[in-house]
Symmetry: C2
DNA sequence: GATAAAATCAGCATTTTCCCGAAGCGGGGT
DNA sequence: ACCCCGCTTCGGGAAAATGCTGATTTTATC
């Protein structure tokens, strides 16, 4: 059965490794969601409280989080705040039983992926979760690319970084040499090393990397 | 008094030309909003119905729209849909009297700027409107830049466009010549014309323009 | 068919970039 | 003190790009 789940997940086109976390104090509701999602090939991990989830949460898992709003102890919005504070990129789908427009608006404006009311249909949840996972997968790719760019930027020396900035600014080696008060030859060396360290072979790729990483 | 309004608006640091549109069938509510916003130096234009607003709306004014949800004839969400269909970039702030989480979530996910419930405080509205205008101003700058880039891209010939694509891909003139099966000299001509038409003088600027415009 | 616009190519001088090599300099470790 | 390594600094020659003048062919448009 476990194997089947994996196969189904792959057949559904989901990137392997994505898990759906559920945090809800209502046992029936939680089990219902677990059953629904697992029967559709998702890997699910359910928790009855925010603390339990935080204890397991190891930084930045792939997937999304179905989060109940009203819970004893730490509430849904509080957990969401905490995740935001910890720079989590895990998409959060709020689930609430008591319609509260202000809370929904606040949550969404703070970056929640969605906000659904009970009762909800199976199709609704599945659709939202799938959409969320798809987006998360893309987002993840972007984050990885950005992280890689940041890492590479980090291993540039001061001089190389200065040269890079001027390259991005569109200056010629001659102008860069003038600005930094060094010879053109030296600029060329730094430039070559920048290209090497950034893992690109053309100026176009270099600019693309830097500009893309800024957004 | 009109002059004072203008001065106040400038002193408040708002980009000139921004107007706040209000569409609400409730006369008292509408007048109240008009008074509140005008007394804070905003230029306001109020309408009692969606049709009236659409008749005046000329494509893409600067500012934002305070839109009541429930109205006879065309409703708030319907007007919002229509604006979206017409590729409007005018930020929409929904105002509702009857809390409806699903509607709020839908509206926000479709790109509404905010969704506030009656009754609301003056401070709340002012804060939201100001935030909205600030964002809109920045967005506008980006849109202008993008529009300019698109316009320039539009006046490139087919060949120039092909060459541009290969330049962006980071290829050398020699490689471009090979790909398009033309001589290097010709590539150089196209390349120069691309730079000229795109209004840039360095490869870095060119790449930045293109990449920025894609987002 | 005339006219204009686009696409094609060449030569030549200049500038810029790329690749290989090399040397001074300063900190860390043995 | 000595050596190694990374950072920074250069030079020379090859390759590539740029700017300019000029030209022919193809295509679009009226």
């Amino acid at each position: 059965m476990d194997e089947t789940v994996g196969i189904v997940a792959r057949e559904a086109g989901k990137s392997f490794g994505q898990q759906i976390f559920i945090v809800d104090d209502d046992d029936a509701q939680r089990d219902s969601l677990v059953w629904l999602l697992e029967s559709h090939g998702h890997v699910v991990r359910a928790f009855s409280g925010a603390r339990d989830f935080l204890a397991v949460w190891n930084g930045n898992p792939a997937g999304c989080l179905l989060l109940d709003v009203r819970m004893p102890g730490m509430s849904g919005p509080e957990l969401f705040e905490e995740l935001t504070r910890r720079c989590s990129a895990l998409p959060v789908i709020f689930i609430t039983g008591h319609g509260d427009v202000a809370m929904a608006v606040t949550a969404l404006k703070k970056g929640a992926a969605d906000f659904i009311e009970k009762p909800f249909s199976s199709d609704e949840v599945l659709k939202i979760v799938n959409h969320c996972l798809t987006r998360e997968s893309e987002e993840r790719a972007h984050r990885c690319a950005r992280a890689d760019t940041a890492r590479r930027l980090g291993q540039l020396t001061r001089r190389e970084r200065q040269v890079l900035d001027l390259i991005i600014a569109g200056k010629l080696n001659k102008q860069i040499a003038g600005d930094l008060d060094i010879s053109i030859k030296t600029v060329e060396v730094h430039r070559a090393r920048v290209m090497e360290k950034m893992g690109v072979s053309s100026l176009a790729s270099l600019i693309r990397r830097i500009v893309s990483a800024r957004l």
